[in-house]
């Protein structure tokens, strides 16, 4: 309860003295004023619970005016290491209770200072309460002099718990002269201190708190997430005390709802978003509920984060109940406490971004980048890179580092371009999803062409040299540096379709954020992507392990050439799926032309500096190149697919929101697979998770309507559906229950059959009854 041990000690000692003096004065005063009143148990202090708590009844006034409010309180001084409980004791324990009585005194609701968190070593049992010293207060009014009695029930625990039940009595004196006689200065100070630890409303603390509830209406058994978005007029706002599960966020008990804090993050606007997660119990409370709680904040800046600067803010969030079959109306989301809350909630992926840019988000992007190195899309490029590094075995460390820098630079530049493209397209009003570039056949053709050219290079058909590098050849292997950078660029291009499962959240966030944040996120991603190879190149030990360059490298390079052709094959298939067989044939034609062009080019280089042969070869190459580009006219898009397809024994209907609504209306659960042919994760999930006997059986048994949202080509409806869930790209898996048509279950991108079947079971209309039988 109290801030820091030294402060506490000083406070305890001074308050102890003050109270002793003050109480002596009160007792003496009242005894003198009302000699006839029979003294009851007395105001304490009373030792209870084997001496582990000392309980005292106090008042902030020695004499009060009739009918005017004053404050009374019960003070608990606990042995070191012992604690008692808040109004919600948490997962065990017992709320402290005080029952007031007195013939002429009326006492209001108990005022609770904000609690602190107590937990077992493994955090298995979490409780809320007070240690050391706490004063629970209440406002009182007296119509006449008379005794005030407080029956106190308190459970004090260290490891073992001891309940205490004591009754204290304090005479309340109504001033004969009509003058209020305040309690001793130090007694009032303890009341003031208790008042300072009481939660205030958010607006009193200068904060606006808006709640976002997921799902928007809660049914029994639902998993539940509540986000509290806090903003303030003058950032930086105060931030919550604690992090993660230890975030100082305390909920009062709500029937059948279990929620625990999972952490908080800063918002770009200087505020923060705190998150609570949990579930609704099996009982239907039968009415809408309200989540009420307290959030403890540290003063802005955090440098002076002593508890003296802490501020507790109370909040109250309406929690609508999902209506069952009796009234198939799901209440609209309601935010608290401002009227404009609903608008804020309705657009969680608005460009302002729902959450803040945190180190966490950047860290995730960096981690995502690291993991991308292991993806099948990127591996061929990494192989090339590895060969380049092997080539450098003889070079100085400085040169190797320079190559590393060039590689990282290439990655960052490519991601920068990609980010800029995203921003420009967004500014132009075209919303794009991650991996969007593969929706354009031209892009596929060009990337594949690059792969083919690189393969030709690997086969030794020609030697890659970039324009303008010949002049630099004298200076050293500058062309090698350009090549390193180029490899970085290629890595990025090939990595994008693999990135969704790791970057889905981070990129969904980034794409919905402001421009600098988008750029920062992409930079973090790039650093992660570049890190392993660059670090490898910098580690002297690793470099020594690399074999010396030799004939073996040519063999390896050839082998890599085939790997590159394999990657090109995949791109061809993507183009084919996105734009039809004609486009695929055009693309292949372009690649063939390109291959021949580079072969001619290589031959021209070999033919020497002079001679007609060279001119002829170059002319031929140019002509063919011109012809090849004509193959890239994809102006006639293939017919849009609209028919249902059966795959793996599942009948997939094309994505259609009206049809989905109709199926839900008819009482059928709906499963939507958001996929794209260029998304390898999607394909893997479809193969290994969705098209399995168990899932098929579950889909059939529960009569689930299945829809496939194919994002292979650009599709505004699908992009919007992704954005609604805060996602920028595929895969995404949604299971809709007819009981909650507005709150689909969003399944993880790395899908498992068990999770999918569970979601299907949960979405089935007769859940409650069916679940009760084994």
């Amino acid at each position: 309860m109290l801030p820091t041990p030294p402060k506490l000690l000083a406070f305890s000692v001074s308050c102890g003295l003050a109270l002793a003096l003050g109480l002596a004065a009160i007792v003496a005063g009242s005894a003198a004023a009302e000699p006839g009143v029979a003294m009851g148990p007395g105001p304490g202090p009373v030792r209870a619970a084997d001496g582990h708590v000392e309980i005292t009844l106090v008042s902030d006034a020695r004499e009060v005016r009739a009918g005017e409010p004053f404050r009374v309180g019960v003070r608990f001084e606990l042995s070191p290491g012992w604690h008692m409980y808040w109004k919600n004791p948490g997962q065990s324990g017992m709320a402290t209770e005080i029952a007031w009585s007195g013939p002429a005194v009326r006492v209001g609701e108990l005022e609770w200072p904000h609690p602190t968190r107590f937990a077992t070593d493994d955090d298995y049992i979490v409780t809320y309460g007070y240690a050391d010293d706490v004063l629970l207060t209440a406002v009182a009014t007296a119509s006449a002099s008379g005794p005030l009695r407080a029956a106190v029930d308190v459970l004090v625990c260290e490891v073992d718990c001891i309940p205490a039940s004591v009754t204290l009595e304090l005479p309340v004196t109504v001033s004969a002269s009509g003058q209020v006689v305040a309690a001793d200065e130090r007694v009032r100070a303890s009341f003031a201190w208790s008042a300072a630890a009481q939660p205030v409303t958010a607006s009193a603390a200068g904060l606006t708190i808006v709640a976002e509830i997921e799902p928007k209406a809660v049914a029994p058994g639902d998993a539940l997430r509540v986000r509290l978005h806090a903003t303030c007029a003058a950032p930086p706002c105060p931030a919550p005390r604690g992090t993660g599960a230890k975030t100082a966020l305390y909920l009062e008990r709500t029937p059948s709802i279990t929620l625990m804090p999972t952490g908080w993050s800063a918002r770009p606007d200087g505020g923060f978003t705190a998150v609570l997660a949990g579930s609704a119990g099996p009982d239907d409370p039968g009415q809408d509920q309200t989540l009420t709680g307290v959030l403890v904040l540290e003063a802005a800046g955090g440098a002076d984060a002593s508890a003296g600067n802490a501020r507790a803010v109370s909040f109250s969030v309406p929690l609508p109940r999902a209506r069952g079959a009796d009234a198939p109306v799901v209440l609209a989301p309601v935010g608290a406490p401002t009227p404009d809350a609903a608008a804020t909630i309705a657009a969680p992926s608005a460009p302002a971004g729902p959450g803040g840019l945190t180190l966490g988000m950047l860290g995730l992007a960096f981690l995502g980048g690291l993991i991308l190195n292991l993806m099948p899309c990127v591996l061929p490029v990494l192989a090339i890179k590895a060969v380049s590094f092997a080539n450098l075995a003889g070079e100085t460390r400085g040169r190797v580092a320079l190559h590393g820098a060039a590689y990282a630079g290439g990655i960052l530049a490519a991601l920068g371009v990609l980010a800029a493209l995203v921003l420009i397209l967004r500014a132009a009003g075209t919303q794009v999803g991650w991996g969007f570039q593969f929706q354009e056949p031209l892009f596929g053709a060009l990337v594949g062409g690059l792969l083919v050219a690189l393969a030709m290079n690997a086969f030794g058909v020609f030697h890659l040299s970039f324009p303008g590098t010949r002049a630099a050849a004298a200076v050293g292997a500058q062309s090698g540096l350009v090549r390193s950078a180029g490899e970085g660029v290629l890595t990025v291009i090939l990595a994008t379709p693999c990135s969704a499962p790791f970057l889905g959240t981070a990129l969904g966030f980034a794409l919905a954020s402001r421009a600098p944040i988008v750029l920062l996120m992409f930079a973090a991603l790039g650093l992660g992507l570049a890190a392993p190879l660059v670090l490898l190149s910098l580690a002297p030990g690793v470099r020594r392990l690399l074999p010396h360059p030799g004939a073996w490298m040519i063999g390896l390079e050839r082998a890599l050439g085939f790997a590159l052709l394999g990657a090109a094959l995949w791109v061809a298939w993507v183009v084919g799926r996105a734009a039809g067989t004609d486009a695929m044939a055009q693309t292949l034609g372009f690649w063939l032309a390109l291959a021949v062009v580079v072969a001619l080019w290589g031959a021209a280089r070999r033919a020497g500096r002079t001679g007609r042969a060279r001119i002829l070869l170059i002319a031929g190459a140019a002509a063919l190149a011109l012809l090849g580009t004509r193959a890239l006219d994809f102006s006639e898009p293939a017919a849009a697919p609209g028919a249902a397809v059966a795959s793996g024994g599942i009948l997939w209907q094309p994505y259609d929101e009206a049809r989905i609504a109709a199926e839900l209306e008819a009482g059928r659960p709906v499963f939507v697979d958001f996929t794209a042919d260029w998304c390898i994760t999607c394909k893997a999930n479809e193969r290994l998770v969705i098209d399995t006997d168990a899932v098929r059986a579950a889909l059939q048994e529960r009569r689930v309507a299945t829809f496939r949202a194919d994002f292979t080509r650009r599709n505004e409806a699908i992009r919007l559906a992704l954005a609604r869930q805060g996602k920028a790209g595929v895969p995404m898996y949604l299971v809709y229950s007819p009981a909650r048509p507005d709150a689909p279950d969003v399944l993880p991108e790395l899908l498992t059959s068990a999770r999918l079947i569970e979601a299907i079971d949960d979405a089935s209309p007769v859940t409650m009854n069916q679940r009760s039988s084994p």
Partner: protein
Amino acid sequence: MIQNRLARYSLVAVLGAGLLTLVAVQSAHSAEAKKDVAAPATSAVVGKPAPDFTLVDEGGKKHSLAQYKGKLVVLEWTNPTCPFVVRHYKAETMKKLAAKLGVEVVWLAVNSTHFNKPEDSQKWAKANGLAYPTLQDPAGTVGKLYGARTTPHMFVVDAKGVLRYAGAIDNDTMGREAAPTNYVEGAAGALKAGKDPSPASTEPYGCSVKYKKS
């Protein structure tokens, strides 16, 4: 050369900073993630099959949940050193209810207190004249399987093995009510009558279960 060195150092600095950020952020996040994982670790969910277990009682006899299929089973988390348990045993809340529910209901007390010995349970059973066994779970495995957090913490399993009630024994946290509503009695009564227990879950109250430190 200077240029090279510069490039190298700046690279190391940038990547180092990136990695540090990552470590810092992930450590914060992992705590969060752990919490997310820890929450559903309990496999006992009202409305779903109750997780099976086998434990020995204070006399060394084995009991498994599966062997009682076909009967209602009441699980009572207990700890004779907890004042809440002591209060209920003085009032004979559990003993009387177990007797009232009769032979077709199996009552199993479970003690997940890490320092509890079978002899302690024997003494307790003798002193209180208990007709039901106290299962010995000093490792806390079954306690955590059910998510038992307090003593007492009650669970009611129906004849099909489905968990139908979890929570407090009654609505009398302080032990002051003249006629408290006993939730376990209500749940068992509803199940016997072929109805759904209501409430099917309440907030348990009492001491925390004194689990072995993990």
